[in-house]
Amino acid sequence: MSAESFLIAEALAKKFPGGRGKPDLTVFDDVHFSIEKGEFVCIIGHSGCGKTTILNVLAGLDSATAGNVVMDGREVAGPSLERGVVFQGHALMPWLSAKKNVEFAVRSRWPDKSKKEIDEHCQRYLDLVGLTGSEHKKPSELSGGMKQRVGIARAFAIEPKMLLLDEPFGALDALTRGNIQDELKKICAATHQTVFMITHDVDEAILLSDKIMLMSNGPKARIAEIVVNTLPKERSRETLHKEPHFYAIRNHLVDFLVSRSKRFSEELPAGYDARNPPLVMPGVETQPEPPQPKAEVPHPEKAVVVNFR
């Protein structure tokens, strides 16, 4: 973790006071991670591990019990137009048309822009997510996928420094999800957007992200390890499964979700350093060069062998 990282989360914890003499409930504890500019990071973990809380803390909508988040050199102390959020349930205002929903955001970002400028700006982003022709429909007249596209357009339209997506495609059917994933990937690539995204879908994470953070089960969830996506940047949904390390990564992730995430939370593996969760590159023997902040990182495969036998 370098001090120059775009976003740094340090020692985040979330506790809820236990009622009537019961001990406090610690959802997650000692969570450290960093995100570089232009990086696409996914976070995977079972329900209840506090993923959404972490996202909300990053967004400034929620505050952690301990720890802090610094983005672009400034501490996150509340919601800001610098971080766009795509909510799980699209969160469109149902009384406004698609365009008015985007407009609401754009006007918040640039209150002084002329009506015409705002209109053009909104239209550009609606076009970008493929909603040309449906601008004046109310959310209730749009399909689930289209609604989520409006949500994405709204988040992108304010041109935030960072985008936070809370499981945006969870409620969509596979086909629609695929299409939007492609589009999201395209847009992010084009705009070099820094993205933090929660997902339950392993394939989605492999397709979109540069880095996948694996969270152990709650309570007292932590970031168990960080998987570096070694697949080429120019991957696509159609050819993804043909990539050499695809199955190695996929199996690693599935294995973590199925068994290791639980074991991890029951007993911390020896040598685990929460400030520096192990970086792993399934399928790759050698240690990755570029995202290598410190020398003391153990061999990923070895770490796996040692810690998660």
Binding site: A59, G60, G78, A91, M93, W95, S140
Partner: protein, 274 residues
């Protein structure tokens, strides 16, 4: 389908009229001179016993509606004028109530603390029959016209207050979060997020309030008298004229329905589908 339903409605109505006629019509008195006692008892002039027949009712309706705005002094005015007085009172009381209830409801809905602090008062005041306020209002306000407006105010404030508070409190967290992440100001949030989000609930409250206000004004005017549809009912009760009382009931129903329909349209206007 619509035509069939209409035809069926008509048949039901005619059937109802038939039954009505059959049960109320009294056979013409057989000939023979009336004794003085019978004359004094009103047997000669077509004195109406009990409920009117549909024909009598029809001619009463025609008579009232053909000249709805006559003015024979302070105690005898046309049905149109009386309804206008009642509507004016309801309108004034209702508007005042809305002006108080909606902003206050807004604050209560936004602040759980205020909600808990004010809740006991609301719970105690809400179930009080509006007319129970009348003697107190007359005593303190010292004006009967203002008192009846006050009674409308006090009865229509609660549904609006409670619905506004409820609507505001239950605005979806997501929308508020959207507003927060967009750093939307307090007023913009109130008017562009919370208000439209809570509008259907608020409008429901207003619709309920208007229904209550219209029910109450009749009773209030019967109590206070002077003008209005309630006074008309009272005046005709005073004369034991069932025909006119039934006519007034009909008018109260029709106006109440129109008011409700108006609020129905407004409600449709602010309702959204999620």
């Amino acid at each position: 389908m619509g035509l069939k339903a209409g035809a069926l409605s008509l048949v039901i109505f005619l059937f109802f009229l038939g039954i009505w006629h059959a049960t109320t019509v009294t056979p013409a008195r057989s000939g023979g001179a009336l004794t003085e006692y019978e004359q004094l008892m009103g047997k000669s002039a077509g004195k109406q016993d009990g409920l009117p027949t549909p024909a009598q009712m029809g001619s009463a309706v025609k008579k009232h509606l053909s000249d709805p705005f006559y003015d024979n002094g302070p105690n005898d005015k046309g049905i149109g004028i009386q309804l206008a007085y009642s509507l004016m009172r309801v309108g004034a009381g209702f508007l005042l109530a809305a002006l108080v209830a909606i902003p206050v409801g807004f604050f209560i809905g936004m602040s759980p603390l205020l909600y808990r602090a004010l809740n006991p008062f609301i719970q105690v005041l809400k179930p009080i029959s509006p007319l129970a306020w009348m003697p107190l209002a007359l005593y303190t306000i010292k004006d009967s016209a203002t008192s009846s407006i006050f009674v409308i105010f006090i009865c229509s404030i609660w549904p609006m207050l409670i619905n506004t508070a409820y609507g505001v409190a239950s605005v979806r967290r997501d929308w508020l979060n959207v507003a927060r992440t967009l750093e939307v100001g307090v007023f913009r949030k109130a008017f562009q997020v919370v208000l439209p989000a809570a509008a259907p609930t608020i409008m429901t409250g207003m619709r309920i309030s208007m229904g209550i206000a219209w029910l109450v004004i009749v009773a209030a005017e019967m109590l206070v008298g002077g003008t209005g549809i309630g006074y008309f009912v009272w005046n005709e009760w005073n004369n034991l004229s069932l025909t006119n009382v039934i006519f007034a009931i009909l008018m109260i129903g029709v106006v109440g329905m129109v008011l409700d329909l108006m609020f129905g349209v407004l409600q449709k206007f602010v309702t959204y589908v999620e």
